[in-house]
Every structure is written in C-alpha cells, then in structure tokens.
Assembly symmetry: C4
Homo-oligomer: 269 residues x 4
C-alpha cells in the first residue's frame, strides 16, 4: 500500500514514505490549467515549464518528495542543498487563466513510483479543480534535424480539432512505442477522473537538450493558453545549442565516412 | 501483501495497487478454455491470441491494470490513449466451446509482479470455471530456419498423449532452462488449483516477430479446440517477414565471412 | 513486513507471498547437520549437495517457494512442470548422523529476498534442532588450474582447529570481498541463533561448472561427517569437464598471443 | 511502511526488517559532532573516518543491519564472519569535543533503503543531541592529478564563512550533478531536524582509492574539530598509492598516443 503523507505545519518529515507532500502556501485558483514539464527526452518539457515559471514569475506552492526519487541532494546557488524533489508552481495570467506548473529534478526511479507519483499529482489537480492538463515532452527520432513539429495525443478525442488548429500533428498510433513516464501516464489516469489532458511532444533527436524543440512546443502551448510568451531565453539557449548540434552532425558524418572506409578495407581484407 | 482491487461501478481507480481489475461486461460461459498469449519470445503467443480475437470477434470483458506493468500510455488509432494493461476477451465457438483469451501490452516489469498477476489470472479462471488452459509462446533457438515445430509442456501427464496427436513434440527436460514468465508460471500455479494446463511453444529464432512460428502453434491449437481457423492474416504477415528473414540471413553470412577474414588477418599479423 | 506462509494440508497456495512453505513429510531427526548447496560460483555447492542426495537416497521433505525466486517453470523428465523452488531433503547416515540438505533451482533475485529466505531456512533448522550447518560454495580465482584447495570461514572460531584437520585452509580476511549470497548470509544469521556454521569454498576458475572443485569440497565434508562417500558420478562428470577446461585453456593462450601480436602492431602503427 | 527494529537484550534478530539496530554500549556524550564516512567515490570519506576511529581509539557502540545492504558476510581477521553492516563509534577528544563516527561496509543497494537508513542515522543523531554533522566524500573529476582541493556544501549558509576559513572551497551549484548517496541525503534531511550539516568532498580522480584526497579532507576536518590528527597511516597509504597512480598515468598517456596513432591510420585508410 502506498504511503502518501501530507505534512502538518509542525511535523518534521522523515522522507521515508512513498510520497511526502509539503504545502508551502495556500492559493485560490480558478479552474486552473495544469502543465507538466518533468525531465525527459531532450528535456523539452522541462525547458518549456521552467521557462513559463521564469517568464510569469510563478510562485512555488507545493514540494513533493518521494523515496522513489533519486537519493541525492541538489546543490543550489548559495552552496546550500535541498532534497531531490518535484515542485508545483502557481500563477495567474493576464487573460484570466490560472496555471499550475509541475516541474522537478527527476522522475521516479522505480516502476511503482511512477504510478504513485502520478496519482499524487492528480489528487492535487482535483483539489484545485484543474480543468485541463497539458503534459510536455520530446519525441526522439534519432535525426539531427530541426523540423519544429509537435506531435499530440489526448485522453478525449474532442480536443483533437482544437489542438490541430494550433499546429499540433496527430498521427494514428504515434508514438508507436507508447508514451513512457509521467507525460504518458497522466493522460489515461486523468481520464478516469474526468479531466481532459493532452500530451504535446516536440520532435527532437534524443541526443541533446533541445531548446529549439522546446520553442516549437511553447509555440503551440501559448496558443492553447491564449497568451503570448517572450521566448528570448529559449532562443538564446537554442543559439548556443546550435554549435553543439553542428559539432554532432560533423562527428556523425565523419563516423559514417570512417565506417564505410573501414568496411571497404574489410571486404578487401 | 499484494493489493488486488476489483473496481465497483462508481469507483475511480488510482492504479497504484498491485492489480486493478475492471470488469467491463458480465458474460455466461460454459467451462471455457483459457488461452494466454501475452508478449514474449518472437511474439508467437501474442500473434496467435490476437489473431483468434480478430477471427472470432471476441468481446473484451475484463481489463487488468498493474503498477508492475510499464508506466506508460499506449496511443491508439484515434490518437487517444489508454494505460498499459492486460485484457481478457471472451467468445463462443460454433462447436460449443467457449474461450477466454488473455492478451496485453506487456508482462510484469518486476519479479513479484509476475507471481501476483499470474495468481490474478487464475482467480479469474476459477471464477469462470475454466476447464483447461493453453499458454502460448516461442522457443528461441538462435537459428534462422523455419521448422514448424511446436514443443509442449504440461501440468498433467495425461495431456501428453492427446497433444502429441496434434503434432506437439514432447522432449525430456525441454526447454532446458525452464519456461520464463507467465506462460511458464501458469502451469504449476494452475496445477494446485486442479486446472489442466499446457504450454505450446513454437520454435523460433528469437531475433524477430515470427508469424510463421505462430502459424505452427495455431495449427496445433485449432486441432485441440476442434475448430478450423482462417490463417490468412498470419500468412500475409509471414510473407512480409520472410523478406526480413532473408535480409537477416544475408547479414549473418556476411558477418561470418568477415569474421573469418578478420581472424586470418590477425594470425598473419 | 515479510509474509511467510506455511501451507495447511487443505490450503491452495497462491505463491504470491515472500515465502510459501510446503511440508511434504514429517520426519524425526536427531540433532541433524544441515548442508546448504544452492546454485552459486562454479555450481560447486550444488554439485556436492545434489550428489549427497543421490548417494544417500535422501527424502524430499519440504518445498520452499518464493516470489523472490525467478518467475518460471522448470520442466522435468516427463515433460511436466514445477515452480522454481528451494527444497529440503532429509536422510539418516549409517554412522548415526542425520542430515538436512538444502538445494534448489536458484537463489533469490532480490536483495531483500536473500535475507527473508535465509531467515526461513534457519527457522526450519531451529525446528529440527540442527546442531551444525555447512554451507558449500566456490571461490572464483579466474585461473584455470585445479588446486584442490578448500577455503573455510566459520561463525565460531572453535571450529577452525577441527576443520583444519580435514584439510580446510583458513586465511585472514579471505575471501577478501566477503561471501555473497546464502552461503555467506547463513553464517552470521545462524550465529545469533547459537548454531555453529562453517562455509566451505572450493577454489575454482569461476568460468565453468566445476565437479573437480566439488570433489575437493566433498572430500572435506565427508571427513567432517565421518563417512565415506562414493564419488564416482562426480569423477565421471569431472572427466567430461576436463575437455571443456582444455579447450578453454587453449582459447585463453590463443587470445593472449593474439593480444600481444595486436599490441605489437599498434606500437609500430 | 519501513520497519525499523531496535533489539532488546534478549531478542534474536532475523535481519529481515528494513533496519535492525543493535545497541552495544550506552555512552553519555555532550552535544557530539557526527562524522559520516561510508564507502563512496575514491573511498575518501571511509579512509578519513576509519583513520579517526584508529587514531582516537573510538568505541563501537551501535551496529545497524538492513535488508537493503548487500546480502553477504564479511570475513574478519580470525576467519570468522559478520553480516554486512553500518557501525557507529563514539569517542571523547582531549579538547572536550565528543564524536560519533558513522562507518560501514556498504551503502544501501536500493533507492528506498538510502532514505530509510539516512532517517535512522538521524534518529540516532537526535537521541544523542548531535550539534553538527560532517559528511565526508570524494568528488570525481576524471583527472589523475592531486590538487588537495576540498569542495563544500552546507544545509545552513551561516557555516560557509567558518568552513571557508579552513580552506574549504564553495562553488555555486557544485557538484553540478548533486551529491548522491548518504553524504548528500544527510544534509537536507538533517536540516528539517534543525541540525547543521556540511558535506566535505575531496577532489579525486574517481579511478582509485585516494588516501591523498583523504588527507586533504582530514586537514580541513581537524581544523573544524580544533584538533591535530596524526596522519602517518594515511601518508604511508598515499605513498603506496602513488605507484598505482604513476602506473595509471603511464597507461593513460600510452592509451592517448595509441588512440591518436590509430586515428591517423583511420584517416589515411
């Protein structure tokens, strides 16, 4: 049986439960939209979610600890530490939409932990009366090319038309191998709780952190939220990464020509 | 202690239990035969079981979720999702036999989960008064040749004569390394519940999805069930796979000749 | 909390507990000696324990199942199956000594399972009033030579002198990396229950099943038990394995000469 | 739910709980400082902590067993064995400071076990009224050079100035990947219990046991404790290891020149 503990103000956590929830601040939100951007393929979801927190100066309201997260301390700017955790931020957009943004250092290290943490996130979503969930991620193709494509999957077919209007591509049975981790799990697990959810996946190589793909996802998401988002930080990050990509492409070509040279030798041998 | 939860109609599942059983439809079956075809070596069992569901237009009656299954969402035809799960289908054959067919996306990811899920499947089998179980699988030889052989193992030696009559081969202590996963576990675990069970394993290379081996297993199974089964879809699939096999055989020969060339060089060096 | 279940006669096991104990036969034993020979390095312990069961026609009295053992079925001689398990055999020697022999298909697949199964074995040992435990294993050196050496470790220093008299070698802090698995765990875990225990480890390469090393261990053990044991089956097995060893030694020499040839080339290059 | 059992005098441990605590001796300590030196990168922390136990002839007061520690027996000097465990030693320094030193054979083998063991260590720290904790470790750079640098992280920023005075370097967000294992976990987990804690990490290559790095950490720690510590044993150990380091550096250079030679060949090919 999963042990999920919500801390009282006076309680000292042992962090040995499946989940330890620490509510930092009470906020009133109006049918908020939840956005999940935990680390994953190309860190696409994380880049977008962290960017939103920055741009909208969202407030951290809940910390979620778990014995299924890596047993490690994160060192922060002032050389102090905190436990590896997942965090929920809240903010109110100018257009009246409220957001809950779920980010964190890692996803669960265990199979069971994924289910338990996902269920915990959805308990919190229900408490806030979340009206819709967007889970963000990358879709690895192994190709070092930048297509700007965003693939979608939903837990309610009625969302497809709307999201297609924002440029999301829907392809039968794609991703073919399923959507692994929290971004995937949240869709069917929120469906039974009658919360609409969509997963937005930016096409990415899978080899690098990909702010370019994050820009594409953010483009779709900002339309879905009916807001404009300053992308400067992501653009700068993408410009930096382009040098890495160029280097990787060079290495790939070199490797390919070496391999073929090598094969030639072998056939001769 | 394993937590096995059967959902009430009004209950919202958290999917954090060892097993969550969702009964979709009540059906009356007469001493049905259970057929297990979860994914495994060469996907032989899965190909046969999925084919039977298609051909006999079986009805999905029970969904089985588990925190021991991979934490992922499966994307289906209309770009909506469902949780990774195991499923039980039911159908009534023209010759009066009733079938329960167990299929799914994956087997358990954990050691303990295999035992818990197998026990759950057998609880369901008992509730339906299952008279016999066939578990279907592949037996990997590492050889890219198509022998059409089906190896058998049983939990009751009285079944050997009958199954031999359908062309099943029984070899002492074969498979030597045991039968791993649900197809193996179900035999001894159903024996103590006094349900006869046989495992039918199609010989396969172990490198590819093998519809040819699935045809061999289906051949045996249709005799055992006293029915004829249209194999067209499997035949078409097998024809496609033959190109893959030819390519693999070519690669294997090339690799072997390269290896020997290489060795020659080394001795000279 | 570990769930350890002892089956009633009428009870149908689900095999989902940490341990399921099935008592097959009640026997009266007089301060028996327990011998553990589960699979491990070079299968040395298993070879000796299985040999003793054969030679003394020991009776299987207890089956031990566990969800920490591999989820698989073992196929036996008549093509029927049984669940992967550990077994306890009993026999009465001519010199008045009684034996309990612990064997099995595998050791635990999980960390925790090793502790739980070891504790279960010792509960059984206590119930029978076991006076001494010998755990048998191999000690891998990576060298393909046959030294016939048996290394010892004990949970009571008073045993050292006696065992040295049978040719067991005791070396400070050896094996340096500790004794992994049940053969190791049983010594300290029986010490607190005030049962003397020794681990006898035959020197072995670690590359192959080693009946030669098993003969050395059996030589020591038969002195310790004050009996003579017919070793013919082990000798025949050892003669067969010598061909394998010769082949491995040849390969090793070839590999070494190739490596040096290769290195020469590289330096030149 | 974690099962943490403290043994009564008369109780016989089964060692199947998450944690089994065996108190060997009652001691009165005055606001002791706790030092953690479990095995980790370069065994830096372990070398320092074991050295302190030697030099100050500390007394072993508590043994901590766990089913999350490797299932193995450690063979000690007289060829007897003990279970793999963690240990707490106590000593009183001449300058009035009392120490609790935490050492052991291994850290937890499982994710959850790290959290449970860390919480257990802190329960003990609280019982003794520990005033401060130093966790000791290595910080792997992959470089075979000896810088004598010690990096620090704290759970209370007020400690930075003091520790900087002892030569500890504090760098924003370093180590970048976090501090993995007990040395990391103890900082945030003691913070909520209002115990100040610092992690002192000696720069090390990560390839070898590094007594040189341990000397650097001990240098800092002895200042922090206001004592002088005889370092002779560590110095001798370091002198021995220098031969290993020299050999490794030679191999590294040889490998690098070979690689470049090889690359040249490939480009030509």
């Amino acid at each position: 049986m999963a042990t999920i503990k919500t801390l009282n103000e006076s309680e000292i956590p042992t962090y040995t439960d499946d989940v330890t929830i620490h509510v930092l601040q009470d906020v009133e939100l109006h049918s908020p939209i939840m956005i999940e951007g935990l680390p994953g393929v190309g860190h696409v979801g994380k880049l977008v979610a962290d960017h939103l927190i920055d741009v909208f100066q969202a407030t951290r309201i809940i910390d979620i600890y778990s014995s299924h997260l890596p047993p490690q301390a994160i060192v922060v700017d002032d050389c102090t530490v905190r436990l590896d955790r997942n965090e929920i931020y809240a903010c109110k957009l100018e257009n009246g939409n409220d957001l809950l943004i779920l980010v964190g250092d890692h996803q669960s290290m265990t199979n069971e932990g994924h289910y338990i943490l996902c269920s915990t996130f959805l308990d919190i979503a229900e408490q806030f009366g979340v009206s819709r969930i967007y889970t963000l991620g990358g879709y690895a193709t192994g190709q070092l090319e930048d297509t700007g494509t965003v693939i979608g999957a939903v837990n309610n077919p009625e969302m497809i038309e709307e999201l297609s209007g924002y440029g999301v591509e829907f392809q039968e049975n794609e991703p073919w191998g399923g959507i692994i981790g929290i971004s995937g799990l949240m869709l069917p697990m929120s469906m039974v709780r009658k919360i609409d959810a969509a997963c937005l996946m930016g096409i990415t190589s899978g080899y690098i952190v990909d702010p370019k793909s994050a820009q594409a996802v953010l483009g779709v998401l900002s339309q879905a939220l009916g807001i404009e988002v300053d992308m400067q930080a992501l653009e700068e990050h993408a410009a930096e990464m382009e040098k890495v990509v160029a280097k990787l492409q060079e290495m790939q070509q070199m490797y390919e020509s070496m391999s073929s040279a090598n094969e030639d030798l072998r056939y001769i041998g």
